[in-house]
């Protein structure tokens, strides 16, 4: 090893440590921002170490990096917080395609140099291409669904499982043929097929997944993008790629697991069942009277309330209501009420989405409460205000054994003394399941656009 190579290797160790410390600092909102900077510093060190360690032609690197940095910075500074899920999905995809390209480029280089390609290099090349490709097209579909470029409903066709099985078989056959002779005459064909098949597989794996399950899918794709980077690390024998790829992979797996638990579903069920496509037919039909109220009635009840809990869902993001919600929360606090925001793990379209929106609206993070912390306290709450959430507060998950969401942990807003549901109309939620909450005795429906309804409440407070 030359002195330069040793310095580079040591720099990679430092970079890995900085990633680890950065992630550790993410354990509290107070240190998280500095943690992100620590992590970014690690990345900078890894990049600089790579650039100076080997004799390099910087020509094309400069072109690629300039284009990438401009596009990345432009997107990151412009994206609205409501669009965070599709943004993250898109970026997952870019990570995946980058790993695929690295695997392919390294394979081509080894071939052209006439070097021998041992098993320990061939397997990671194939995996980097395969995982990278699946991550790329899967993320593009997830992006298109989240950005509503295509229909968010699950797409199912007859024989889907057979097609999937055939593709997996093709992937396996190509793998065996490739490993048998990675530099042989058919090897490049195998690589080409692997790229094509991974693209198709990514699409087919994502189209049957409905919009309500998107938090699971982007968590999983997040994990894949890490694992693809890991595989690329094995290709170029680089530990910093392996360590950081593994950290990201583990992160995605943990988030996926949390999301699945929060929906009481197994990962295979999320991935293959096409949930939401047929749910509307199976759910029981509820009959009864709903109690609509006017903002004025709602004002009198809120004015008298000692404790108020807001339960936001994706509808709050759609209506861009987070700022008025915070304003109402502040007025209630001034009025002497205790105000909390209860957030279900799968509220919104990605993990923690609601928290970011409320943070954007200046809600202090101490007021954001998790489901398990609020549930035991809900029967002492005077008013629970449901804003654009549906399935995550649906008591059918507790009571209705034949309901498609039966067993899913929910925020038990019906245990509060009074529940306000802010809703556009009596349509079923994103999962297509009817909600018996609307017909409960202590439920009051405040129909209309969430932002307008809350603005009306604020006006009542201000004129009073």
């Amino acid at each position: 090893m030359s002195a330069l190579e040793i310095t580079a290797s040591l720099s990679y160790i430092v970079a890995s440590c900085l990633f680890i410390v950065g992630l550790k600092m993410l354990s509290s909102p107070a240190s998280a921002r500095r943690g992100n900077l620590v992590s970014a510093l690690g990345m900078l060190i890894a990049v600089v170490a790579t650039l100076v360690s080997q004799g390099m032609d910087y020509h094309w690197i400069l072109v690629g990096a300039t284009l990438g940095a401009l596009a990345g910075a432009f997107a990151a500074l412009r994206v609205p917080m409501t669009s965070m899920p599709e943004f993250v999905a898109l970026f997952n995809g870019f990570g995946g395609i980058a790993s695929l390209l690295v695997g392919w480029a390294e394979y081509h280089r080894s071939l052209s140099l006439g070097a021998e390609i041992p098993f320990a290099a061939a397997l990671p090349i194939y995996l980097a291409i395969l995982i990278g490709g699946v991550t790329f097209t899967g993320s593009m579909i997830a992006y298109a669904k989240l950005a509503e470029r295509i229909d968010g409903k699950p797409t199912l066709f007859s024989g889907q499982q057979i097609v999937n099985a055939a593709i997996l078989l093709g992937v396996a056959v190509c793998l065996v043929a490739f490993l048998a002779a990675p530099a042989g005459p058919y090897a490049y064909w195998c690589v080409g097929f692997a790229i094509g098949l991974s693209f198709i597989l990514g699409v087919l794996a994502t189209i049957p997944i409905g919009g309500a399950d998107m938090p699971v899918v982007i968590s999983l794709l997040n994990s894949y993008s890490g694992l693809a980077a890991c595989a690329a690390g094995f290709v170029i024998n680089n530990t910093v790629l392996i360590v950081s790829g593994a950290l990201v992979g583990a992160s995605g797996i943990i988030l996926t697991n949390i999301m699945c638990k929060a929906m009481n579903r197994s990962l295979p069920h999320v991935l293959f069942s096409g949930f939401g496509a047929a749910a509307a037919k199976t759910g029981a039909v509820y009959e009864g009277e709903v109690n609509p109220i006017t903002p004025e009635d709602a004002y009198y009840m809120l004015e008298a309330a000692q404790s108020v809990v807001f339960v936001p869902g994706y509808g709050m993001a759609v209506a861009q209501a987070q700022h008025v919600v915070r304003e109402l929360g502040e007025l209630l606090e001034k009025n002497g009420a205790d105000v909390k925001y209860a957030i279900h793990p799968v509220a919104g379209r990605m993990p923690g989405h609601m928290n970011v929106l409320l943070a954007e609206a200046n809600v202090p993070y101490e007021q954001l409460v998790e489901m398990d912390d609020i549930n035991p306290r809900l029967d002492t709450v005077d008013v629970a205000v449901v804003i654009g959430a549906n399935d995550v507060v649906n008591p059918a998950a507790r009571e209705q054994e034949d309901s498609p969401i039966y067993g899913m942990p929910i925020i038990n807003v019906d245990h509060a003394r009074t529940v306000f549901v802010l809703k556009r109309s009596m349509r079923a939620g994103f999962a297509g399941v009817d909600n018996p909450l609307f017909f409960k005795e202590n439920t009051r429906m405040l129909f209309g656009d969430a932002k307008q309804s809350i603005s009306a409440l604020i006006a009542e407070f201000k004129t009073a």
Partner: protein, 98 residues
């Protein structure tokens, strides 16, 4: 093969470390965690730099590598910037910025 086993060993340990680290991240920070870890997965840029810049790379590897550099840089720069933007919004009741 020996090196491969050593890399595998590193990989397995890093997975366990990842589980320990990430399980300590509170739910309220899960979105910044995702965008931040997204930026970290842009570490594949190191591989992309080698492919695009190595003097013994054939032209196709350089093309593929340059595209990989562009995509990975989007990930790194965009990922860290957007995470910073988000984390700057999380404020304590005392009004202090983190």
């Amino acid at each position: 093969m020996g090196e491969f086993i050593l890399l595998l060993f590193t990989f397995v340990l890093a997975i366990f470390l990842g589980f320990e680290l990430i399980s300590k991240v509170p739910a309220t920070l899960h979105t910044p965690l995702m965008s931040g870890s997204n930026a970290i997965s842009g570490i594949t840029i190191v591989g992309a730099l080698v492919a695009a810049g190595a003097t013994d790379s054939p032209w196709l590897s350089v093309v593929l590598g340059t595209a990989a550099v562009a995509f990975a840089t989007i990930n790194v720069v965009g990922g860290y910037l957007v995470t910073d933007r988000m984390l700057a919004m999380f404020k304590s009741r005392q009004g202090g910025r983190p």
